[in-house]
Amino acid sequence: MIYTFKFQDQIYRINLEDGKQTEVEIDGKKFPVCFQKIDERFYSILIDGESIGVGILKKGKKVEVFLNGELYEFESISERERQSTSAIISGVQQIKSPMPSRVVKILKNVDEAVNEGEGVIVIEAMKMESELKSPINGRVKEVKVKEGSAVESGSVLIVISSE
C-alpha cells in the first residue's frame, strides 16, 4: 500500500507491502522491514538488518518522527487530497503568532504601507520580545489584535495585502 506524506511543502510517497513479512519498496526493489514498539513512543525499526531507534508521535493525520536528534513533522495525506492540492498563490499574507504570546506593540496600522522585511508587530513570550516582519511589500489590510492581548499559537495577528 502506498503512503503519502507532506513534509515541508513537498509530497513524498512510500510503498509498504504486507506479505509473510512487511517489505518496503526502494528503487523498485523490496526489502524486509520489522517494526517493533519498545515503549510508549519509542520504536525499533529494522530494514534488512539496518537498525534505527526512533520516537514516533501520531496525532490524527500528523506524524512526528524523532530520529538521531532531528524532528520530522509529516502530514499523512490521502491520494485524493494529494491530487486536488495545488499551490494557492495569493497576494494576501497572514502574520500569525508562532506561539502562545502577548502582543506588546502594533507597529503598523490599517492601510499603512509596509515593505518586505519590515516589522509589523512585537510579541512577547517567555520574557523575550520578538518582532514579526512582513514577507511582502504591501499594505496592512486588517489588524486582528490589540496591544496587551494574549494570543494562541497560530492566531492571525495582522493581514497584509500586496494590493
Binding site: E40, D48, V54, V63, F74
Partner: protein, 499 residues
C-alpha cells in the same frame, strides 16, 4: 550543618539543590506556583508549599511569601538557585532580618556587584581592564551620544541585567532607537528596572568566566575558567571547561584577577567573574554574577569540586578545606543546554507538552534536568529542558561523546535545539576551538537540518500509520543478512511534488 533548607526556585536547579541537601543529610522545603504542582522539585523535596499563580511576579519573586514559608516550615536557610531572587539584595536582606541564612553572598556584595556600573568601578579599583563604554546608566539622548563616541557596533545592556535579558547588539545607528526601546522594555519586565548602559561591542570576542568560591573566613578560591562563547540571543547555549583558547599562564592570571575582585567585596559563596576576551588574548571585566551559574557543572566535572554542596557548607559557617594549590583539573567537560525552541525560527521558544522524553545516559554523562514524559513546558518560565554535560579525557573525545549522547535524546511534542547542537558538534571551526560569540550568527547553515534522515523518517512514519490500528507489536521477523545498505540508496519516492 542546617537541619532544613528552603529552595526558592524551581526546575532543574531546584532538583540539583535538593540532591545536594539529601547528600548532606539536610531536609528540603520546596515552593511552587500553580504551574508547578507537577514539577519534580515538589515531588522530590521533603516538604512543599504553594506560593501563588504561575507569573513569577506573583509567586517566586514575592519575598514575603518565601520568607513566610521558611518561617512556618522551620527552614534555617534559603538557597535561591539562579534567576528569580538570587541576585536581589532586598531578599538577602530580608532573610538576614528574619534570622534565616541566605545561601550566597552578603546583601552588600549583591548590591555592589548587582549594579553593573558600580561593579565596573570595583573592577577598575582592582586594576582589571574594562570595555570602553558609558560610566553609568544613561538617558536615551546620552546613549546615542556615547554610541557615536565609542563607535559602532555597541551593546545596550540592562543595568540590572543578566542572562541576556534586556541586551541588544546594535551595528548601525539607524537601528539604535528601536533596539534601545526593546532593551528597556525587556529590562523593565524582567527586572522591574529599565535603566541601561552602553558598551563598545568587541568583534569576535570570547566569553570566558572564572568560577570563584569564598567562605566566611576570608578564603577565596578560583576553580578555573569556563568558555561560554556559543551564544544565541546573548544567552549561552554551549559551555566548556577548560577553554580551548587559554593557556596555563593566562589561566593563572585570570584566576588571580577574579580572586582579587571577589576579595574586594569580601565575597562569600559561589560567584562568577565574567570576562570578554578579544582575538589578541586581552581580557576585559564584564560583570560578576553573585550566584550559582547554570553552567557550573562543567567546572564540577573537571575539578571534582561539588560547588552546590560547598555553598551550603559555607553558609553553615564551614571553612573551605582546600587551598588553591590543591585544586586541579582533569580532562574536558562540555555542557549543552537543551531548549524547547526552534532554531529555524530564530530560536523562538516552543512551549507545549512533552509527549515523550527519552533522556540519554552512559559513562561520563550527566543530565541535569527536571523533565519527563508528560511534562508541560509553559511560557511562564525559561524553556530550558535539560543541561546535558559530558566529561572525557580530551576536548576532541568530549565533543564526540556529546554528539553521541545527543543522538540518544528523544523529545516529542515540542521543537528542540537538539539537532542544532549536534550540528555544532560536527562543525570544523567548533572542533578546532575557533569560537567566539558571533559563532552562531556566522553559521546560519547550522540552524537547519540537512534532511539526511528524511528517507528513514518517512519509512518510520509510514510504518506508524500502517500500525496505528494494531498499536501493540508486530511479530518479530527475522532480518535476513544481505549486502543492501540503505544509506547508499535513495527512496523510490514518486518524485517530489511541490504544492
Amino acid at each position: 550543618m542546617f537541619n532544613k533548607i528552603l529552595i526558592a526556585n524551581r526546575g532543574e536547579i531546584a532538583v540539583r539543590i535538593i540532591r545536594a541537601c539529601r547528600e548532606l543529610g539536610v531536609k528540603t522545603v520546596a515552593v511552587y506556583s500553580d504551574a508547578d504542582r507537577r514539577s519534580l522539585h515538589v515531588a522530590m523535596a521533603d516538604e512543599a508549599y504553594h506560593i501563588g499563580p504561575p507569573a513569577p511576579g506573583e509567586s517566586y519573586l514575592v519575598i514575603k511569601k518565601i520568607i513566610d514559608v521558611a518561617k512556618h516550615s522551620g527552614a534555617e536557610a534559603v538557597h535561591p538557585g539562579y534567576g528569580f531572587l538570587s541576585e536581589k539584595e532586598a531578599f538577602a536582606d530580608a532573610c538576614e532580618k528574619e534570622g534565616i541564612v541566605f545561601i550566597g553572598p552578603s546583601p552588600e556584595a549583591i548590591r555592589l556587584m548587582g549594579d553593573k556600573i558600580t561593579a565596573r568601578k570595583i573592577a577598575q579599583g582592582a586594576k582589571v581592564p574594562l570595555v570602553p563604554g558609558s560610566e553609568g546608566a544613561v538617558t536615551d539622548v546620552e546613549a546615542v551620544g556615547i554610541a557615536k563616541k565609542i563607535g559602532y557596533p555597541v551593546m545596550i545592556k540592562a543595568s540590572a541585567g543578566g542572562g541576556g535579558k534586556g541586551m541588544r547588539l546594535v551595528r548601525k545607528q539607524d537601528e539604535f532607537e528601536s533596539s534601545l526601546r526593546m532593551a528597556r522594555s525587556e529590562a523593565r519586565s524582567a527586572f522591574g528596572d529599565d535603566s541601561v548602559y552602553v558598551e563598545k561591542f568587541i568583534e569576535q570576542s570570547r566569553h570566558v568566566e572564572i568560577q570563584v568560591i569564598g567562605d566566611s573566613h576570608g578564603n577565596v578560591l578560583h576553580l578555573f575558567e569556563r568558555e561560554c562563547s556559543i551564544q544565541r540571543r546573548h544567552q549561552k547555549v554551549i559551555e566548556e571547561s577548560p577553554s580551548p583558547a587559554i593557556r596555563d599562564k593566562m589561566r593563572k592570571k585570570m584566576g588571580e584577577v577574579a580572586v582579587r575582585i571577589a576579595k574586594a567585596v569580601s565575597y562569600r559563596g559561589a560567584g562568577t567573574i565574567e570576562f570578554i576576551m578579544d582575538q589578541k588574548e586581552n581580557f576585559y571585566f564584564l560583570e560578576m554574577n553573585t550566584r550559582i551559574q547554570v553552567e557550573h557543572p562543567v567546572t564540577e566535572m573537571i575539578t571534582g569540586f561539588d560547588i552546590v554542596k560547598w555553598m551550603i557548607r559555607i553558609a553553615a559557617g564551614e571553612k573551605l578545606l582546600l587551598k588553591q594549590k590543591h585544586i586541579s583539573m582533569k580532562g574536558h567537560a562540555l555542557e549543552c543546554r537543551v531548549y524547547a525552541e526552534d532554531p529555524e525560527k530564530n530560536f523562538l521558544p516552543s512551549p507545549g507538552k512533552l509527549e515523550y522524553v527519552r533522556s540519554p545516559s552512559g559513562p561520563g554523562v550527566r543530565d541535569d534536568s527536571s523533565i519527563y514524559s508528560g511534562y508541560e513546558v509553559t511560557s511562564f518560565y525559561d524553556p530550558m529542558l535539560s543541561k546535558l554535560i559530558v566529561w572525557a579525557d580530551t576536548r576532541e573525545e568530549a565533543i564526540k561523546k556529546m554528539d553521541s549522547v545527543l543522538r540518544e535524546y528523544i523529545v516529542l511534542g515540542v521543537r528542540t535545539n537538539i539537532g542544532f547542537l549536534r550540528r555544532v558538534m560536527g562543525n570544523d571551526e567548533f572542533i578546532r576551538g575557533e569560537i567566539d560569540t558571533g559563532f552562531i550568527e556566522r553559521h546560519p547553515e547550522l540552524l537547519k537540518s540537512n534532511g539526511n534522515g528524511i528517507e528513514l523518517a518517512l519509512i518510520a512514519a509510514a510504518l506508524a500509520i500502517r500500525n496505528s490500528t494494531k498499536e501493540e507489536v508486530e511479530t518479530a521477523t527475522q532480518a535476513k543478512v544481505s549486502n543492501w545498505k540503505l544509506f547508499a540508496r535513495k527512496l523510490a519516492v514518486s518524485g517530489k511534488i511541490a504544492i
